[in-house]
């Protein structure tokens, strides 16, 4: 009897504890579904019904012919302070105010089976008292080309075209194609194309083969050059190998790699060539081709990029070329004139070492605006420029861009040699 009593008490306790745990587990907390207060979407509700639907049969790829006309109009205001140049324009010493504008108009013709045509018509106007009014209007067709493909296995583009050849942010040593160079102060500017035929043969998503037959300034077949590139994406790296072949000119070989490590995007480009490049060797000024010897030369760029999407983006890039200048007398106007005449002077690519940094903070200092600092420095002479600015987007199509550009270094240096100290630059861009 005693045992039965004990058993009943024990059973009661077990049952009580079990019931308690179940009751406790069902102590349900209520939370609001939407924990925000909004304007546009505050009437959104959760739809608990799950309806079964049938797959659509509509084709989403537009199959009819179409013509699109778009463009961008830019208005610039530039105030150059303490301009006291002994280079290129040695007599000017006043501060200078300029207003000018330009526009790119894009025409895009679409046909079936991926056939299309494209044209970029550039229109620019310079408002400068030193420029005759007859010459102040610039009209240029930056690009016009036709695209077609062979059953989506090989893609062809023929005409005047700008090719993105290399992934570098500012320097592209493996760019064996383009003539127009990136403008440090306007990196998104549409660049002028070169004439030729591009062939792109994809092999799945991971590998691609490109050829470009360059007919720029070619009067006869022997003037043509052929650029090729093969790229492949391996485990977590994308590699590219490229070559430039041109008669009576040294071949060039390029290698590019991009990967990511610890949240950083890392990429590098290397080009090597052997020949009588119209370039100088160290401080020995031998820019005349007949006085120069064959030698191996190379150009290397490395960049590292970190980004928190829509918040902060930081890019650092370094450029090195074996045969760049370590020293150069930037006050020697005849020397600089000669370099310009020989097409040797390429801004931001004349010395041995350069580096640059690009920092953009989104939504700062307030909403709809971005603040950026872009710095470019010639490592060898210590000069450089810093572009500090902010952009404000009033509506998606209209952007204001204001920046202060500081030039630093000795007066005998690449960036200070022009005599510039500070530029105040404003730009209004309208996209349509």
């Amino acid at each position: 009897m005693q045992s039965l009593k004990k058993s009943l008490i024990l059973s009661f306790l077990i049952t009580f504890l079990s019931l308690s745990s179940v009751l406790l587990s069902e102590d349900i907390i209520s939370e609001p579904f939407f924990d925000f207060k909004g304007s546009l979407f505050e009437n959104e509700t959760i739809d608990m019904t799950i309806e079964t639907i049938q797959p659509s049969t509509t084709s989403l790829i537009e199959k009819r012919n179409s013509v699109n006309f778009t463009g961008i109009i830019n208005m610039y205001g530039l105030y150059e302070v303490n301009r006291n140049s002994n280079l290129f324009e040695s007599t000017v010493s006043n501060n200078r105010l300029q207003f000018y504008s330009d526009a790119d108009f894009f025409l895009d013709f679409r046909f079936q089976k991926g056939v299309k045509g494209f044209m970029d018509i550039y229109l620019g106007q310079i408002n400068d008292p030193n420029v005759p009014s007859a010459q102040s209007l610039i009209i240029n067709i930056k690009e016009y080309f036709v695209d077609f493909n062979l059953d989506y296995t090989s893609y062809f583009r023929v005409g005047k075209q700008y090719l993105k050849w290399g992934q570098g942010h500012f320097w592209n040593p493996i760019d064996f194609v383009n003539v127009d160079k990136k403008d440090f102060l306007n990196l998104n500017q549409a660049l002028e194309g070169v004439y030729g035929l591009k062939v792109h043969i994809p092999n799945g998503t991971r590998s691609n083969l490109y050829f470009f037959l360059n007919s720029q300034q070619s009067d006869e077949p022997s003037d043509l050059s052929l650029v090729s590139k093969y790229e492949i994406a391996l485990k977590n790296i994308e590699l590219g190998i490229s070559t430039l072949i041109k008669r009576n000119q040294s071949s060039r070989f390029g290698l590019e790699a991009s990967t990511y490590l610890f949240g950083f995007d890392i990429l590098s480009e290397l080009s090597i060539f052997n020949g009588k490049e119209p370039f100088m060797n160290g401080s020995d000024v031998q820019y005349k081709s007949e006085s120069r010897q064959y030698q191996w030369m190379g150009q290397l760029s490395k960049s590292i990029n970190w980004e928190r999407p829509n918040r902060v983006r930081v890019t650092y890039e370094h450029y090195y070329q074996t045969n760049g200048f370590e020293t150069l007398n930037w006050t020697d106007t005849s020397l600089i004139d000669s370099l310009v005449e020989e097409n040797i002077y390429i801004p931001n690519q004349l010395s041995k070492h350069y580096h640059s940094a690009f920092i953009t903070i989104s939504e700062f200092p307030y909403h709809s605006s971005n603040t950026f600092v872009n710095i470019l420095q010639n490592f060898n002479d210590g000069s450089g420029l810093m572009n500090l600015g902010w952009t404000y987007t009033l509506i998606n199509e209209l952007t204001f861009n204001n920046s202060l550009i500081f030039y630093f270094g000795d007066s005998n240096s690449e960036y200070k040699g022009t005599g510039k100290s500070i530029d105040l630059r404003s730009q209004i861009s309208l996209k349509f």
Binding site: I28, S30, E31, F33, M48, I201, T205, N208, D265, N396
Partner: protein
Amino acid sequence: MNDKTNYPVSNNRPLTITIFLTTILIASSLSATSLKLKPSINKILKKIDKQQTIEKDVTAKVTILQQDIEQGIKQMESIYFAKGSTDQFLIVMTAPESEKGNGYLKADDHFWMYRRNTRTFQHISRDESIAGSDANTSDFETPKYELQYKGKKDSDNEDIIQTVNLGKIPAYKIDVSSDLPNVAYPNLTIWVRQDNLLPLKIQNKSYSNSLISTQYFLKYSKINDKFIAIKQMVIDNFEKGNKTVWEITDITFSPIDNHIFTKAYLENLSN
């Protein structure tokens, strides 16, 4: 005599055992009922993945409506292609004109972002927001919660699963984290429906557990036994007031040619 005195004892023993066993059975069944209502976090994650993984090729139209507190409302449209048997997808922007032609191409661990104005294919490691909105490319990937995230546990190494009512909907609330470098958000708080374990709401959090954005799954549709969240909303908790709603329409399961998932095709669609 001894036998007599022992009778009651021998009579009570089976009864005691019966009561005790019955009690244990009742208690066990109550506990089992309680446990059955709470699947493990791993099971929840596995179910989310399984229910939403579509093994067929998918083409769909994605409309993104973004409300920016200063710039107003922006509507974007894109076409989404996904190769069911692989981890490939392609998103091509079709509107507005300023975004048209930009695209996102993914194959396994490789992700390229194409910018029309510079004709650049940027090979990047991270997820990217679509056209600056709060819709992320990871939102269009085959879900891999089970592989990428682990549930948070208490001091007894038991899964922490809360039973809550989200609005009026019975839900489970779980916290998961990931130490993988390429996930969009290292910490998540997920609310799933109790009846079918479909996500209702996800809070996306940083390494330090600060709230970045909140994702609401407003409507699901069932196509060929798979669930697709055809309407979602993301609230930007960083920039208060910014909201993005996207809707998926015109879903097809027709086979997609491999040539779609190439840089050449994306560039051809663009300029």
